[in-house]
Symmetry: C2
């Protein structure tokens, strides 16, 4: 698992596309056990006023309705540590591995995933972190709203 994986590159491109749209720059990509991309997507909170279309949920939605066997051995790439909802979605469909770009910006369900037997890889990718730093510096209230927190008082 590395930054050279097609799944990671697709997730990063999705994050950049989200940034271009003025959205929260988080991307994801679901890859099956044979390396085939099943779906990819990015956070659509701002673009669609959506409370649920996080990158991983968009990705699962774009992959469509699949049998349980399709997720067996699959890897969810995401540019940021998955929140509790997206962690739960990975557990529901029993993906085998979650590869995240970074978890310096936010730590989501890393521990819960590991406890439930999902392999967790952190690529510690500077570009993913840079996209989030720029977004949060510019729009802190939008980011805290997305992760279910009240905006910081200083904003």
């Amino acid at each position: 698992m590395s930054e050279h994986d097609a799944g990671f590159k697709a997730a990063l491109e999705e994050a950049k596309q989200g940034a271009k749209e003025g959205g929260i720059p988080i991307g994801a990509c679901l890859v099956d056990k044979d390396g085939k991309i099943l779906g990819q997507g990015h956070n659509m909170r701002l673009q669609k006023d959506s409370a649920t279309l996080h990158a991983e949920i968009s990705t699962l939605e774009n992959a469509g309705r699949l049998p349980a066997s399709a997720y067996k051995g699959a890897t969810m790439y995401t540019t940021l540590s998955p929140c509790q909802m997206c962690t739960g979605a990975c557990l529901l469909y029993k993906v085998s591995r979650v590869v995240m770009g970074e978890n310096n910006t936010f730590v989501g369900g890393d521990e819960l995933l590991k406890q439930r037997g999902v392999e967790v890889v952190n690529l510690k990718n500077a570009e993913c972190e840079g996209l989030m730093k720029k977004f949060i510096d510019d729009h802190p209230e939008d980011w805290y709203e997305d992760i279910g927190d009240a905006p910081k008082k200083s904003q």
Copy 2:
């Protein structure tokens, strides 16, 4: 919290609407701390070939993009114990209470919710259970697909 709550009645109506559409008959409704319905919805897996539009996710999506304060003290009514994804969604937005119609058909995140300080109420409602029993008897493979399990061999 009872079967007479407006939120429960709305969730049950949503489940029945799902059944009418030939879908998985699970409904939900999000009610704020003052008793106002913020959103409601039902499972759309079959209707939209959707991997993510469970009743609770549909409900959060229909409620739209809201500040963290809107969920404070809120209750998520759902006709069935929430799966791991929907449990995570309730944790993400920090709803205060999850009221389920039943958990005989399926036990999802009841324990995780309690561990994280969410009040969990089970109404043990026969009508909710009856809707699911009929659906699973008629379409077992669709139900097991939705909860991320392989269909039973006997089917």
